[in-house]
Symmetry: C2
Subunit: 291 residues, 2 copies
């Protein structure tokens, strides 16, 4: 009997799943609720299970067919040892089950299963390189400690600069004026705001930074140069492990490109497929290997 | 009848008070509980009231004598408009009551009531300048947005660097090794730690940074140079408003001095008196002015 391939992309906002036959023909697709195994383990596993049930229901396949399935799930936080340990107890009915992070399956998708690397720069940042045998992860240790080159870090620096300008310690600029205007030009309002701000909140001024840099704002230009330098520093070890092919992904990937050096831009390739396709690429590879 | 002077120094760990006659002769001294009007308004006011009651009890003075008292209180957070507004309802029995921040009374003490400035670099950072008529405050908007040159910011940068070294993105050094050893060389342990870390926790690696810089550790040297540059940037506007006299205070004040430029060091003066003495200096000045 033919084997089946099942890919799961589980993230903080929702969980997606796709079931195909061994040739890649889609049998079913489904979307479920949030599946962050790092912050909400039990809820995340339930969301993933629900999506799997839905896929087999849609495909009209009996329960015993699951025993021929190669499952690849990409879940944020799997690289954290405590989460990884807990996941050992999750054994969904399948022939084989492989766990990766969301960044790893994104990497497999970006290069259609071939060796390559990704660096994701959105609210946070994290990298992964696939050499054809194994993944290497880089960064992704959170807003307080890591996330170099990300929108949250960029936004925090911009707000700090706006406050310095408000107090006359650095010159004001259109960017710093716009940021202070978001807080009624009041450091106190900004302080109160900062006590509840999430990384996504910090990152919300990023479009203003790109817009004012476009108009020559010196602070905005310096901030984007710093972010570009951080991205270049982070991608060097990824390039070394990925045959020099790198896809930049996430919300900052496109706007930051004009700020990167020509040498780095020359090594960038566009992502070819999405993360769910990456999970299925891996499932296909693994299903063809001897157990 | 002779007037009395009452100084209060209210901070997050405790509240101190001193009662003197108009010539500065000490009549009583007392210490009470935490008095942070920013984070715990009601408890702080109660702590201050308790210290005042204790002072008059110790001095053996009747309640009506309080009507001849000039009170100066230095309380962290008074500069925040919402706290300032709430404090209008606090009218302790006195002839006159003046409210300042803890940094302002520290400034008055450091220069024995004469014009001058202070920049306090401990866990956080904040500056104040006194031109003889009014105070100007600078910085002090918290760990997330401000506190340039402080131990918490320095410690956060050092930990971030240690994590970059752990992942091979920057070279390791004795400093980064020591910091990772605090977290069993595990980024995950450090991530979990970071989610609960207070500014004081971030600052706890500062002694390691000074110690390794002493031995020529390149990361430690670069970190201290950056902190020194931030301090120099922050003190420029203070020097401009204080006849060029500046006292550096707080836990980093002494160790950071070898890292500051000779031009800045030449303008530094040692603090002459403590914050409580500063409050009493101000009380003395105000009691001699026409109401």
């Amino acid at each position: 009997m033919q084997s089946l391939l099942l890919g799961i992309d589980g993230g903080g906002t929702h969980c997606r799943g796709r079931l195909t036959d061994s040739a890649g023909r889609v049998l079913a697709e489904a979307t479920g609720g949030p599946a962050n195994v790092w912050s909400q383990f039990d809820g995340a596993i339930q969301a993933v299970e629900n999506v799997i049930d839905e896929l087999f229901l849609q495909a009209g396949l009996a329960a015993e067919v699951r025993d021929r399935t190669t499952l690849v799930a990409g879940l944020a936080g799997v690289n954290v040892a405590s989460v990884h340990a807990r996941l050992q107890s999750w054994q969904p009915r399948s022939q084989a089950r492989y766990l990766f992070t969301d960044v790893e399956i994104a990497c497999a998708g970006a290069h259609a299963g071939a060796p390559g690397a990704v660096f994701i720069v959105g609210t946070g940042s994290q990298g992964a390189a696939w050499d054809g045998v194994q993944f290497t992860l880089l960064g992704g240790w959170g807003f307080a400690l890591s996330d170099d080159g990300s929108g949250a870090i960029l936004g925090r620096r911009a707000r700090r600069l706006a406050l310095l300008a408000q107090e006359g310690i650095v010159p004001a600029s259109p960017l710093t004026d716009r940021i202070m205007a978001l807080h009624q030009h009041s450091p106190e309002q900004m302080l109160i705001w900062s006590q509840q701000a999430t990384p996504a909140d910090w990152g919300r001024v990023v479009p203003e930074i790109f817009a004012t840099a476009q108009q020559g704002d010196e602070h905005a230009v310096a901030l984007l140069q710093q972010t570009a330098a951080e991205i270049e520093q982070m991608v060097q070890p990824l390039l070394a492990r990925s045959h020099g092919k790198l896809a930049l992904m996430g919300g900052l990937a496109v706007p930051i490109q004009p700020w990167l050096s020509a040498a780095i831009v020359a090594q960038l390739v566009p992502p070819q497929e999405d993360a769910l396709s990456g999970a299925l690429r891996l499932a296909s590879q693994f299903s063809q290997q001897p157990a």
